[in-house]
């Protein structure tokens, strides 16, 4: 851990520019001339994690946690990327940067930025619950916190992961009794491995869709996972019966899935807390499992950061920042192109 910045410290607002600003390319640090999670191609970019809305193609130099290096290489090809440790400080034009675990997916970080005693933190995407797969979130003290609030409504309250995984395992067991294949939809980076890690392997074999198999293969060098088998053209329908298949949400309704009849489908996402989302998704079961903070976790994270100034990026930003103002924080929203868990629910096509 770095940065023992004293709180209660008066924020020194730079007369010219805040430490981090939002421009049309991404979150920008003018003093260091460097971006975080830029959505348009830039020169130098710090990447919080490997989801496609945070790690875009086309930057000249990437800097990220070293666990995230194989992930974005897998997604973006041969890019110029440097991996660093959590807590490792690097200085650019007097600005000190460091990465701290965000607990969202493997290799996900919060970015701490310090200049002349003023500390800003960008959370990236994060959750407080320890999912047993990625490095758990750690609180970082700061003056200004830029936070996501994908699930920033009091209607979102996650149950403990253990209970949800029990539900998933018993759903699988029930389907097995009925001699059906269980198909669970989960985003290929993060949710898929989180589920995989906690499936009860005594119940049967775990099959994967190609997208999930490849990403999991990349992550096996970092975390141990139960064995999986890739579904190929040679996989027989009978082999799948009673077993479980992990597939990306985009496979829902595809001919690839239809060949597996008889099967039951499930979706694992924070959105499954809403009946409407469950039904729109047209899956047989919805499990409420998210890699983002719920309402209480967001509030806890903000409180433990000690920040007086909070900027809400993506999610229910208007409502959440209004609430923060009502409890006395200096909160506002900024428009970004991050999508939160949207891409786990449904691919939006225009």
């Amino acid at each position: 851990m770095t940065g023992d910045t004293k709180l209660g410290f008066n924020i020194k607002t730079n007369k010219d520019q805040p430490l981090l600003v939002f421009n049309e390319r991404g979150i920008y640090c003018p003093q260091a001339d460097l971006y975080i999670d830029a959505w348009k191609p830039v020169n130098r970019c710090i990447i919080t994690h490997g989801h496609s809305d945070h790690s875009k193609f086309g930057h000249k130099y990437y800097l990220t946690h070293h666990f995230n290096v194989p992930i974005i290489r897998h997604r973006l090809g041969n890019i110029a990327v440097k991996g660093i440790e959590w807590g490792e400080v690097f200085t650019v034009n007097g600005v000190q940067f460091s990465l701290h675990p965000a607990g969202h997916v493997i290799g996900s970080s919060q970015v701490r930025v310090e200049y002349k005693g003023e500390v800003w933190v960008f959370t990236g995407d994060y959750k407080l619950q320890d999912d047993g797969v990625c490095q758990p979130w750690e609180p970082v003290k700061c003056h200004a916190l830029i936070t996501e609030c994908t699930f920033g409504l009091p209607a979102f309250n996650w149950r403990p992961q253990q209970e949800v995984m029990q539900d998933i395992n018993s759903w699988w067991a029930d389907n097995k009794t009925e001699e059906k294949t269980s198909v669970i939809f989960a985003y290929s980076l993060g949710k898929a491995q989180r589920i995989l890690k906690h499936l009860n392997v005594d119940q049967g074999k775990i099959y994967t869709h190609g997208a999930i198999e490849k990403m999991t293969e990349v992550l096996r060098s970092i975390v141990d996972f139960p064995p999986t088998e890739l579904i190929t053209r040679d996989t027989k329908k009978q082999d799948l019966l009673g077993n479980i298949v992990i597939a990306p949400p985009s496979a829902h309704g595809s001919s690839w899935i239809r060949k597996m009849v008889p099967f039951e489908t499930a979706s694992a996402s924070g959105w499954m807390a809403f009946r409407g989302a469950r039904r729109r998704r047209a899956v047989d079961r919805g499990f409420v499992l998210s890699d983002h903070c719920d309402w209480q976790a967001l509030l806890k994270a903000i409180k433990s950061s000690g920040a007086e100034k909070v900027i809400c990026t993506h999610g229910y930003t208007d409502i959440f920042s209004k609430y923060l103002r009502s409890i006395g924080l200096d909160a506002r929203t900024e428009k970004t192109q991050y999508e939160g868990e949207l891409l786990e629910v449904e691919k939006v096509e225009v």
Binding site: A155, N157, R275, G276, Y323, V350
Partner: protein, 533 residues
């Protein structure tokens, strides 16, 4: 309550009809008799009246969740369902001491209605804190309204039939009418064979499908009757043992709302059941559906309204005559008896839907093309030798509606949908061009619509709305005018209640005109030109 909540959860988590029917039948086999009666009541829209208004519900829930009311309201706009919002934001803080049945909870609600607000508050907050999430949701749903779990009365009847081995049609008949779940036993409602005391009971309506093929596919012209399809309220008018009963297709007993028929009660012979259409008849002409709308919701009808919008029954079938059930007879024969009875009534309050004469199928096409002049929605085709069937059945009755009128309009406002669409902006307001006093073109809203697009299109439009919002007004957003849609509707009429001066009937989206720019959308004058005097 636990078993009922588990049932609702099962029904809600599957899209498969067979699974739903199986789950319901299983419940009907295992639940207590009073719980069964209440379940039948709830699934056929016979819930006890709301014991607590939603304003109070919101306030009590927000207080228990320790959040400000505005935050509760904003959450509600996003969740899209009040009971679900309450269940989500309120934490379970204690365990229930003993399991209480569905019947217990419904009796609570009847009792609660008469209590003081402080008692209501204490009761609700206690139940919310001890019920686990899903039971809390179902409990609150019982307080607020419909379940929307895709269980029609028909599906419920089928399940009950599986559990009791009583024929579905017989059950449908038994379950109709004005029974009270708190005072009827399962034995009386479902199991007993009854003869008398059923004076008010209507017959299940026979419903037509939309015509699928070309007319000649129906066979020979001689086998068919054709009538206009009247745009009113489908209703059965019953006279038995001296009393009149009027039922609408939604199985609602509405006798009190149409007192004009009391005047001719003595003209109608006992043991008569007409099937027909309630129509507004103003100065000898059929009014618009908009006129009828003024009567529909009114439980008490003022003399002035009775004079302003008088209603008649245009009869097109006779289901019972001199106490005999005619439904098995051929339509042709029922029609002869119908004509005789209408003649005997001899009052303009009940007239007969005339047969359309035709020799060739082509003749009908000409009649249909002019249906709007007759204030009809199109034509009905009925097989002469067909019995009066139950529910929606193919083959003997077909409706052949006019193509909707349509106009290209611009999307200007959007609101989140409800239920399964609660996370998407799917309720839209559309506008047309008009010239204002200073001669500039401006958009004026004229209709709302929330159906007609595919899920994929809704997602795309939703994304457009979210990134092209101009202003937010609570749940409503004004949107950059850019998208053009073809809006279809059944009829139009002048209206002083609408900003545009026009009311459209059943507006819906026909298609997304991605090929059109907003400048190419229609004008309000184009719409006005469609009104038929």
């Amino acid at each position: 309550m636990k078993a009922f909540a588990a049932l609702i959860k099962q029904l809600d988590t599957t899209n498969k009809t067979t699974v739903k029917v199986r789950a319901l039948a299983e419940y009907f086999r295992s639940a207590s008799d009073t719980d069964k009666v209440w379940t039948i009541a709830l699934l056929s829209h016979r819930r006890p009246s709301r014991p607590v208004n939603t304003t109070l519900l919101r306030a009590y829930a927000a207080e228990l969740a320790q959040i400000d009311l505005w935050l509760f309201e904003d959450s509600y706009h996003i969740v899209g369902d009040l009971a679900e919002t309450i269940a989500l934001v309120v934490p379970q803080t204690a365990e229930k001491e003993k399991e209480r049945s569905l019947t217990d909870y419904l009796n609570d609600m009847i009792w609660l209605k008469k209590e003081e607000d402080s008692v209501k508050k204490e009761y609700l907050q206690r139940e919310w804190s001890i019920l686990p999430y899903y039971e809390r949701f179902v409990f609150t749903k019982l307080l607020t309204g419909g379940f929307r779990i895709g269980v029609s009365q028909k599906l419920m009847t089928r399940s009950l039939s599986m559990a009791t081995e009583i024929e579905e049609d017989i059950l449908a008949y038994k379950l109709m009418g004005n029974w009270k779940p708190q005072s009827i036993s399962f034995q009386e409602l479902v199991l007993d064979e009854r003869s008398g005391d059923q004076d008010s009971k209507p017959y299940p309506f026979y419903l037509a499908y939309a015509l699928e093929d070309e007319l000649p596919a129906l066979g020979t012209v001689d086998d068919w009757y054709a009538e206009h399809k009247w745009d009113g309220i489908r209703a059965q008018l019953i006279k038995r043992n001296g009393a009149i009963f009027i039922w609408t297709r939604g199985e609602e007993l509405v006798t009190d709302r149409y007192p004009e028929f009391d005047r001719i009660s003595t003209n109608i012979p006992d043991g008569t059941v007409f099937d027909g259409e309630l129509l507004p008849m103003i100065d000898g002409k059929i009014g618009t559906f908009n006129d009828l709308q003024k009567r529909i919701g009114r439980r008490t009808v003022s003399k002035a309204l009775l004079e302003k919008v008088p209603v008649i029954l245009r009869a097109y079938d006779l289901l019972e005559c001199e106490g005999d059930d005619l439904r098995a007879d051929a339509f042709m024969e029922r029609r002869i008896k119908l004509e005789a009875v209408v003649q005997r009534v001899d009052n303009p309050l009940i007239d007969i839907s005339p047969l359309v004469e035709f020799e060739e199928w082509e003749d009908l096409e000409k009649v249909r093309a002019k249906a709007r002049d007759m204030k009809s929605e199109g034509l009905m085709l009925k097989r002469k030798d067909a019995p009066y069937r139950i529910g929606r059945k193919k083959g003997d009755w077909w409706k052949w509606k006019l193509d909707p009128m349509c106009i290209d309009a611009v999307l200007t406002y959007a609101m989140r949908g409800h239920g399964r669409r609660s996370n998407l902006f799917t309720d839209y307001t559309f506008a047309l061009w008009r010239e204002n006093e200073s001669g500039e073109r401006e958009l004026v809203t004229f209709a709302k619509a929330y159906s007609g697009l595919t899920d994929k299109e809704f997602r795309a439009v939703d994304k457009f709305i979210k990134s092209n919002t101009i202003e937010r007004f609570g749940p409503v957003r004004s949107v950059v005018p850019e998208l053009v849609f073809e809006i279809g509707f059944e009829a139009i009429a002048p209206s002083s209640r609408h900003k545009s001066g026009i009311a459209t009937r059943f507006p819906r989206i026909l298609r997304w005109r991605q090929d059109k720019k907003i400048e190419e959308a229609n004008t309000l004058d184009d719409l006005k030109a469609m009104i038929i005097e």
